[in-house]
């Protein structure tokens, strides 16, 4: 079959080449390139055809001319009192006791809080990519016809059209925060993508579990959740990651991000209402207490463990896990049963479930890997989950997030099973993220450690 595809390709190339000698397009580009002292990546606009006469056309042209300053491109920026700059990948740090404004030529701005550090990774005619290394930044993006602004913070990316928001990233704690002050943004992260609007309040995501919870019988009830929407009552352990936790009332929930009490995957049958039944037949008696509605949480003083559990048969997922039928677990169990397995299953079961989901193209794969990291932090399985999430991010077209997860894996398991592969893929990820300095650094590290490794040729080509 390869040969036939090659023959097909050759025929396609032959037909395409017939038109290549026509150099009109090249001539036009050549003119553009040479006429522009400092070439920019402007798009060619279609020819405007005046339909209603010369007078209107002239008026339109005047209007376009007058409006041009408003559509100025994001060609440069100023950090504090520094002169205007077009340099990318240069770290900018706010002093320890003062904020530092970065003002872009289109009027957009990024205000770094004291001690924060960021860099402009890309500048284009439609926007910029700013990476927040650590700390907090308040961002104001001027809305224009075509705006492509992204603020990256660890494995998260905030895509902006025109808005004002505050973003925070603390890599040491793997803690992310976002508060939209005006408008709406698209937030992408390990849990997926969701829209965050002003009404959603502050969103927090922690890639690390909180300190272990005291499991004494007199443990206090879980704090009341004010508005979270949930599907079937989940069997929730005290910590989960990554989590997106609203700090105040949210009006809606997005299915792909988790909150401490609701997993990111919400089954199709989930009921979009607050009140949850006190018990669910799907939940095993030995499951941790279900999420509490506000009323229940406020009134309940006895721990859930004090309730006498009703005897029940062994959960269906356990039998399937024992048989190693992980694909079947995902396809035949109810969403609540899958949730139960995810939160009660052994590490190996979860890893195998995630692998089965990944093979099947099941969107829950990333979620299950993130649960592995939350529940079994410090284990090989948790580190390997970071590597697998990185692979999925890479294939999903988010190489920068992939790079972050690969860095996480290499930090946690520098000599791990996937260390060489992760080190090589890290170069690929940075190359695809157009992050040349990081790609070079990754390539140098790779060659120092694996001079004859499978990515050595790529590493050398990156360094050249």
């Amino acid at each position: 079959m390869d040969e036939r595809l090659e023959q097909l390709g050759a025929e396609v190339a032959r037909i395409q080449d017939e038109a290549l000698p026509d150099g009109r397009r090249r001539a036009a580009v050549r003119r553009r390139l040479l006429q522009t002292p400092r070439p920019s990546a402007h798009r060619t606009w279609g020819l405007w055809r005046p339909a209603i006469g010369f007078a209107l056309a002239s008026a339109a042209l005047v209007a376009v001319f007058l409006l041009r300053p408003l559509e100025s491109e994001v060609a440069e920026y100023r950090a504090g009192d520094a002169p205007p700059s077009t340099r990318v990948d240069e770290w900018i740090a706010a002093p320890g006791a003062a904020t530092l404004p970065i003002v872009f030529s289109d009027g957009s701005s990024v205000q770094l809080s004291p001690g924060s550090r960021a860099r402009v990774r890309q500048l284009s005619d439609t926007g910029a990519v700013v990476q927040l290394q650590h700390g907090q930044a308040t961002v104001h993006v001027v809305h224009r016809k075509e705006t492509r602004w992204t603020v990256e913070a660890g494995p998260f990316a905030v895509n902006v059209i025109g808005t004002r928001f505050r973003v925070q990233w603390e890599p040491a704690d793997e803690a992310f925060g976002l508060e939209v002050l005006d408008g709406a943004v698209r937030l992408s992260g390990p849990g997926g993508t969701r829209t965050v609007t002003r009404g959603d309040g502050a969103v927090r995501a922690s890639l690390r579990p909180p300190a272990p919870v005291n499991e004494e019988p007199n443990i206090e009830p879980r704090p009341a959740r004010t508005s979270e929407v949930s599907g079937p009552p989940p069997a929730t352990p005290p910590s989960r990651e990554p989590t997106f936790e609203p700090t105040r009332e949210r009006t809606r929930a997005e299915p792909r991000f988790t909150t401490p009490d609701t997993p990111s995957y919400r089954p199709p049958s989930a009921r979009l209402e607050l009140k949850l039944p006190p018990k669910s037949p799907d939940i095993a008696p030995d499951a941790p207490p279900p999420a509490q509605t506000p009323d229940v949480a406020e009134s309940q003083t006895e721990p859930a463990e004090s309730e006498e559990p009703a005897p029940a048969p062994e959960p269906a997922w356990k039998a399937l896990a024992e048989e190693g039928a992980y694909e079947e677990m995902l396809s035949s169990l109810s969403p609540a049963q899958v949730e139960e397995a995810i939160w009660q299953g052994a590490e190996d079961d979860l890893v195998n479930m995630a692998a089965a989901a990944r093979r099947a193209g099941d969107a829950r794969a990333g979620y299950i890997y993130s649960v592995v990291r939350s529940r079994f932090r410090g284990t090989d399985g948790a580190a390997n989950a970071a590597f697998m999430i990185a692979r999925m991010e890479f294939h999903a077209g988010t190489p920068h997030a992939a790079a972050n997860w690969l860095e996480t894996y290499l930090r946690e398991r520098p000599d791990g099973h996937f260390a060489r592969e992760a080190a090589g893929r890290l170069i690929e990820a940075y190359v695809h993220a157009d992050d040349s300095p990081s790609a070079k650094a990754a390539a140098e590290r790779y060659l120092a450690r694996y001079p004859n490794g499978p990515h050595a040729a790529l590493a050398r080509s990156v360094l050249q």
């Binding site: 079959m1 390869d2 040969e3 036939r4 595809l5 090659e6 023959q7 097909l8 390709g9 050759a10 025929e11 396609v12 190339a13 032959r14 037909i15 395409q16 080449d17 017939e18 038109a19 290549l20 026509d22 150099g23 397009r25 090249r26 036009a28 580009v29 050549r30 553009r32 390139l33 040479l34 070439p39 920019s40 990546a41 798009r43 060619t44 294939h395 077209g397 090589g424 893929r425 690929e428 190359v431 695809h432 157009d434 040349s436 499978p454 990515h455 040729a457 790529l458 080509s461 050249q464």
Partner: protein
């Protein structure tokens, strides 16, 4: 095996010294170097863009973008004999960006202008235009990385190491992409263009006399 000739990405013997001179001039900001650079590689970049994207309404802009980026980053090129390979990678990078933008925007109800069927030369016979339309119609459904792998390997005819280098990935990764692209291309052809699929399965009629 690919048996037709490809320009490849490494022409050290032929153009190595010329490229070194050209790169040096570009890095020094010599006024005529930019034109010489475009004259030397404009057609090559245009062809590579067409290989990946088909004859696309955005080619002119993308061709411009590639050279703008190349000129902006020429200072980072340390080995001038690799100019062509470096430019190929930049071209593939720009193509991938265009494909991803379209992929992100494909939920739009109306087909974006650049996704309209290929603009063909009026001199191109109907049957060959039909083949281009059909092949690119199948390719449009592929993941950008897979589409790039297919185009570089089968249409441009690069060797696997050259194609991997142009794609900015390891050889192993490129092979994975290619395998995936084969599978996806055939699956989509089987689903959407049964005649193309059957022809691929039955008779290797393409390319015979054109090599």
């Amino acid at each position: 095996m690919l048996n037709r000739e490809s320009d490849g990405l490494h022409d050290e013997e032929e153009s190595g010294s010329g490229d070194a001179e050209l790169v040096a001039s570009l890095q020094l900001g010599h006024p005529e170097a930019r034109a010489a650079f475009f004259d030397a590689y404009g057609e090559f970049v245009e062809r590579l863009l067409i290989r990946v994207l088909g004859r696309d309404s955005e080619i002119e802009d993308l061709l411009h973008d590639v050279f703008v980026q190349a000129l902006a980053n020429i200072g980072q090129l340390r080995d001038p004999t690799r100019l062509k390979a470096w430019l190929s990678r930049m071209t593939v990078f720009v193509s991938r960006g265009a494909l991803r933008r379209r992929r992100r925007g494909r939920w739009l109800v109306f087909m974006p202008a650049q996704e309209l069927p290929d603009q063909k030369s009026s001199t191109t016979p109907h049957e060959t235009r039909d083949l281009l339309d059909r092949v690119f119609s199948v390719l449009r459904g592929l993941h950008p990385d897979d589409r790039i792998a297919f185009s570089l390997r089968y249409v441009e005819g690069l060797t696997l190491p050259e194609a991997a280098e142009a794609s900015g990935v390891s050889l192993a990764t490129f092979k994975r992409w290619l395998k995936r692209s084969d599978k996806a291309f055939l699956a989509r052809a089987q689903r959407n263009d049964r005649a193309l699929y059957d022809t691929l399965l039955e008779t290797p009629r393409w390319g015979g006399s054109h090599g």
